[in-house]
């Protein structure tokens, strides 16, 4: 007789997976990528811990969703398994099931009791490549102006691109560091932005505030910076 209460399959292990979301899958949204990863794990017959609620879903928690159009060198998510699997076995079984554009960089065993991943997130580092035609000197000037401004009010985003929401916010305090330099194929911006539940800086907002909102830019999240777990 099926139990009707919301039982969960016991979660025996927590693994932290760092992966690369490459340019081949740049236009796959965060949610879609999560589903693709889940399916890859199912193909690999990895013992995901499923909830037994109305619709069974595996327990996967990501640090921060990646906006569509961005790539990432280091996305992080925690996965719970119902049967312990060593990190190397996990990586070894999953790798052949991953489509081009998705690469596992590391798998780490994490104590079950550690706080939730999103609550540990503090900052994110982005690299933005601008088209070759823009002179580096101009970009540097724009950066200087930005950094010396005491505040940079911006309209809040509404639902959907280009639609303003109600109210405004100050972008300046969300930018921890910002520098321009010559990259491989044109000027590059490297920035560290605040990334917390209460406030998140977006690199496309910074670009727009610098005056490059309409320029075709390649945005890559290079690193997620977490508060170190106690001890």
């Amino acid at each position: 007789m099926m139990a009707m209460a919301e039982e969960e399959i016991p979660r025996r292990q927590r693994l932290r997976v760092t992966y690369r979301h490459g340019p081949e899958l740049r236009y796959v949204s965060h949610l879609d990528l999560m589903r693709a990863l889940e399916r890859a794990m199912r193909r690999a017959r990895l013992p995901l811990a499923y909830s037994q609620g109305f619709t069974a879903h595996p327990r996967i928690v990501t640090a921060a969703p990646l906006p569509v159009g961005f790539t990432s060198e280091a996305e992080v998510m925690d996965i719970w398994l119902s049967t312990p699997v060593s990190p190397s076995e996990f990586a070894g079984r999953l790798a052949p099931q991953l489509p081009v554009g998705l690469t596992i960089l590391s798998v780490e065993d994490i104590p079950l009791t550690e706080p939730a991943l999103p609550t540990m997130l503090r900052q994110a580092r982005y690299r933005v490549s601008l088209p070759a035609g823009i002179p580096l000197a101009d970009v540097r000037q724009a950066v200087e102006r930005f950094l010396s401004a005491p505040s940079i009010p911006r309209p809040k985003r509404g639902k959907g691109p280009g639609k303003p929401g109600p109210g405004s916010y100050d972008l300046r305090p969300l930018v921890v560091s910002l520098e321009a330099r010559e990259g491989e194929s044109g000027p590059e911006l490297e920035m560290v932005l605040v990334a917390e539940a209460s406030a998140t800086g977006r690199p496309d907002e910074v670009l727009d505030a610098l005056g490059y909102g309409d320029v075709p830019a390649g945005i890559t999240r290079m690193e997620l910076i977490f508060e170190r777990a106690g001890g």
């Binding site: 589903r35 693709a36 889940e38 193909r43 499923y50 109305f54 619709t55 069974a56």
Partner: protein
Amino acid sequence: MLQGMRIAREAMYVSDELLSPILRTVSRPARYVGREWNARYKAWEATSIHMVLAYPDIYDIGMSNLGLQILYELANAIPDVLCDRVYAPWPDMEHAMRQHGIPLYGLESRRSLAQFDIVGFSLPYELDCTNVLNMLDLAGLHPLASERGAHAPLVIAGGSGAFNPEPMADFFDLIVIGDGEEALVDVLDAYRAWREEAGPAAPRHSFLPRAAAIPGVYVPAFYRARYDAHGLLVATEPIHPAAPATVCRRLVNPLPPPPVRPPVPYVNTVHDRAMIEIQRGCTQGCRFCQAGMIYRPVRERSVDEIVRGAEALIANTGYEELGLLSLSSTDHSHIETIVERLVERFREQPVSLSLPSLRVDSFSVELANRIQERRRSGLTFAPEAGSQRLRDTINKKVTLADLLRTAEAAYSSGWHRIKLYFMIGLPTETVEDVMAIGDVVRQVLAVGRDIIGRRAEVAVSVATFVPKPHTPFQWMPLIEESKLEQHIAALKKALRGKGIHLSWHEPISTALEAAISRGDRRLGRVNYRAWQLGARFDAWDEHFQAGAWAQAFAEAGLTLDFYARRPRAPDEVLPWDHIDAGVSKAFLLKEQERALRGEPLSDCRLVCHGCGLRARFQLERCPPAPHGEES
């Protein structure tokens, strides 16, 4: 005007760099990138036949099309064939492509469609026509077959919409009628032989006589339609020695192994799940149903083949849901065993099973219970008509007692909601029949209330009946506007009340669907003109351009009512008479007569009613013996 931005027909590789300025600006850009798990990549230079399967609607819909999955897997299994895919771009993407001069391209190869040898369109639905024309134009190909150059790709079609190919006759070089699995291979074999013998410089039309010789292949250019002074069709006759007087559909028996490695989409598509066809065809003989007529006879897959196929599918895709597809799943002789074995096999993974198309009986409820341990959305049944008289007329073999017993079984096993499908505008329908829908629904709800009180719900979904070719109702007119309004008003009144949810949506394109589905070759001009005037995505209400169609009909000197609302005489020559679906016209006429007398006809698994199939395909047994071992 968008139409004016011509797409150049050069060989182009559509790289990520070329696409990226556009993809930032369109909705759901991942649809145009491909790279899905299981997408097949073959070397262009190493393959000698380059084909692209084209679906005339958006990716979200096309990806769930089983026919395309079957052909994609089958064609790519042939070593020297490269088979790519393309779907209709949504208007925002189309606009951006035209602005940037980007031609329609295959998802895997990223090559412009014009570089392929064969472009194969699936025709699932009558209102996809303008999308076909638009895709050809976006590929830099002229929509009219007669205007395409001698070295343009061969443009072919197949699918359920091909059973009346005439409104599309001007656009395709050849059309495959019936089961595509063997027919497509025959076409590819003939193509290969032609290329070898005639050489790479041979003009496209020199292939057509070979194509016409392939059973099931219809070459429209080899036929001419003649009309009399009243505009009625006199004949569609061959004008080429290679063309047979009638083209008989292909029947594949037994069904070849099912596809087990379909591309898995990133974006959420309409039926985002693994699918396995447990049988093709149906023996119920509902008179309104074209699929039931054109997919005869029923061919079951064995339990072992289904279970093996399901295992491979799940292992290859990682899908969390598996759909067991057929026109009437509970009719499969071994459905219980299939369900038992699959439930057992996938208990741990977990994979949820879905079994659509349930017959109205408690057996179906038992099966549904075994499959869906959690009572999610509700159970769906299709009584189709409210009164027994009308159900007998349309040959839907469901009694009120069946329905109430089924409802009782459902509500007693934990289901809260029952969904019922009905049609409106059926032949001989009266207001009383429509009000009977209300009685039926209220009685079902009462059963639910008795068992689970006020939580019981009935959802009613109603669609307008459109008469289709190759069915006993192919001579019937579409219901008149005023009568439809009257019946809908009566229905809404009859279904008022707590616990009853009516979903009635009349697409504004219904009359057009009715006209094109039973149209003749003259509609080619109308389709083409409507497309030129901007019509596309006609099945989508927000895009349907009534004005373009009205103008197109007017310019052609034709009326929509001539095709949609004119009752056809039994001896009238029909535009699809030269296409033989295996079911004889005499049988269909007899069925129409029985319908008008309100006489149902039994399931033909029990006794053969002589529809013509056995003679046409020399079947000793019908349905043919199930394939392989059973367990």
